[in-house]
């Protein structure tokens, strides 16, 4: 589904990614792990079009892709849940979920398309319900929600538009256990629908719980990649910090 070959990215003097490689197959969950600064988020940001790589190639369904902006990434069917959630605090829940992809209504004698607020509010409530998060009023601003609820909104935004590829950067970081369970159920459902998912998380237990395969990064380089059954949490930890087994 996605193949990233020899991806390099430099921030000033720091080499964030140094010929990193990654493969994501159709309908699988790939756990992407590494120590702080290993380059996990940078890889996701390159795929989501927020950052541009300095070198390397990206193939999506065997076709070379140039992801020059977030809009291009979305057109390719890639959605990302950012670690900082990327939400507008003063805007409502439904405005955040439909941000940049609004629904419109038109009238016979009115030439300009107007935002269809009711339909977007209804759609937002429905998608929140499908991931099992109960927020009664989608007209309230994001700043009124708890950390877990905000995370649910960010995930709902990602799920709503039925992406082919889902990128999750610490998707359950500020969630209670019951909320984490619901998000894990959502991941399993997305996977069963044939979506391909990359998950970045610090919690190795969570990674082993949800992933089919794991890729380990160390200082911007891929040091190991393979099925979950071929490796244990201790070995992954050793790869993350030492770089070899």
């Amino acid at each position: 589904m996605v193949r990233m070959e020899n991806i390099s990215k430099r921030y000033g003097r720091k080499m964030a990614l140094d010929r990193a490689c990654l493969d994501l197959n159709e309908g699988e969950v790939l756990g992407l792990v590494g120590d702080n600064g290993a380059g996990k988020t940078t890889i996701l940001k390159i795929l989501s079009g927020v950052e541009q790589m300095d070198g390397g190639d990206i193939f999506i369904q065997d076709e070379k892709a140039r992801i020059s902006s977030p809009a291009v990434s979305r057109e390719l069917g890639i959605e990302m849940v950012y670690q900082d959630l990327a939400l507008c605090r003063n805007m409502t829940i439904w405005e955040n979920i439909y941000l940049g992809r609004y629904l419109f209504r038109s009238f016979r004698r009115w030439p300009l398309p107007m935002l269809d607020k009711k339909r977007m509010a209804r759609g937002a409530a429905q998608v929140l319900e499908t991931i099992g998060i109960d927020i009664a009023d989608t007209n309230q601003p994001i700043k009124n929600l708890s950390g877990g609820e905000q995370q649910a909104v960010a995930i709902s935004r990602c799920v709503l538009f039925a992406p082919r590829i889902v990128l999750l950067d610490e998707p359950t970081a500020s969630m209670a256990q019951w909320e984490k369970d619901k998000i894990h159920d959502t991941l399993i459902r997305l996977k069963s629908q044939g979506r391909s998912i990359i998950v970045v998380a610090h919690d190795l237990g969570e990674i082993f719980h949800v992933s089919d395969r794991i890729t380990v990064l160390k200082e911007g380089t891929t040091v190991w990649s393979g099925p979950v059954r071929d490796i244990g949490p201790k070995d992954v930890a050793q790869l993350m910090f030492v770089g070899k087994l």
Partner: protein, 315 residues
């Protein structure tokens, strides 16, 4: 709108009513149909400027150049009409030039990544200087009758300038609340990085925001020029302070993400009422500036308190 916002809106309305009662008691001329209409006529320019500024401040920006754009586009309109261009093409030339001047601000902010304060401070000097150069610092007067009707004409009991202000206010309300552009503008003001990640064209949106602010400044200049029958390069000096005060007082936050057109109308009417009432009770104009300056600071403090709570006031 949450309860705090409703409380603020009611508070504004209450303040406007109290100001009216105060001047009604202190001046026998204040409560009359003629004077109240006069307040609306005097506030029309501020309301038009405020509509554009609401969009700008809602996007977490500032536009200090509106006074200079007002002056330069008035000169262009008056000069065009004097040059034989006709009233309607003259008006359009002014609005288009205001739009372009605003767009230049937007390009500086969005693409050269200079702060809105610095860009618009710089262009204030440039636009004002151009207005002085074009006119040799001499006023242009004796404008066509049809043009003057924008500032002095009436449709039934309503002055045309007030109708123009109401239409502009309604247009900006529609734009901000009901269109894709308005939602994008609020998103850019709330969290520009988030807006970018969601595929919103942040640069284009910013350029359009400042262009529309420039166009509204030009329109305000047209109304002012038509009312005074004079275009001059020093018109609108310092009007940006009153405009920003009206917008902030109206509940649009300096921190961006919210744009309250209805609040801006109330803010502009409060400033218009203060200016009118203080004149009626014979307070010299420099004291009026002092009062407006104080009201401005109070509005900013109230905004900070509303956004950040009391913690903002401790060091």
């Amino acid at each position: 709108m949450n309860r705090l916002d409703q409380f603020q809106r009611l508070g504004l309305l209450g303040f406007l009513v109290l100001t009216g009662i105060f001047f009604a008691v202190t001046s026998p001329y204040f409560i009359s149909m003629e004077n109240i209409t006069n307040i609306f006529i005097q506030s029309a320019v501020l309301i038009i400027l405020g509509a554009g500024m609401t969009l700008v401040i809602g996007s977490a920006g500032i536009d200090l150049s509106i006074g200079a754009i007002l002056a330069l586009s008035s000169i262009i309109v008056a000069g065009s009409m004097k040059g034989g261009l006709g009233v309607v093409p003259g008006i359009f030339s002014g609005i288009i030039s205001g739009f372009l001047m605003g767009a230049i601000n937007g390009v500086g902010i969005a693409h050269l990544r200079i702060s809105p304060f610095i860009v618009t401070l710089g262009t204030t000097g440039i636009y004002r200087a151009l207005a002085l150069i074009f006119t040799d610092a001499m006023p242009i007067y004796g404008l066509p009758y049809d043009f003057r009707m924008i500032g002095a004409g009436w449709v039934g009991p309503i002055p045309i300038s007030v109708i123009v202000a109401a239409v502009i206010l309604a247009l900006f309300f529609f734009l901000i609340v009901w269109t894709k552009f308005g939602a994008n503008a609020r998103a850019v003001g709330d969290n520009a990085e988030c807006a970018f990640r969601m595929g919103i064209p942040v640069g284009k949106t910013l350029v359009m925001i400042y262009a529309l602010s420039g166009a509204s400044a030009a329109l305000a200049g047209i109304v002012m020029t038509a009312r005074l029958n004079t275009a001059e390069a020093i018109a609108g000096m310092g009007i940006e302070l009153e405009t920003i005060a009206a917008v902030i007082m109206g509940g649009t936050s300096f921190f961006g993400g919210e744009a309250r057109i209805g609040g801006t109308l109330l803010g502009a009417l409060i400033i218009g009422t203060l200016a009118n009432g203080l004149t009626l009770v014979n307070v010299p104009s420099y004291y009026q500036q002092l009062v407006i300056g104080l009201v401005f600071i109070m509005a900013v403090l109230a905004d900070q308190f509303r956004r950040r709570g009391m913690s903002n006031f401790t060091f």
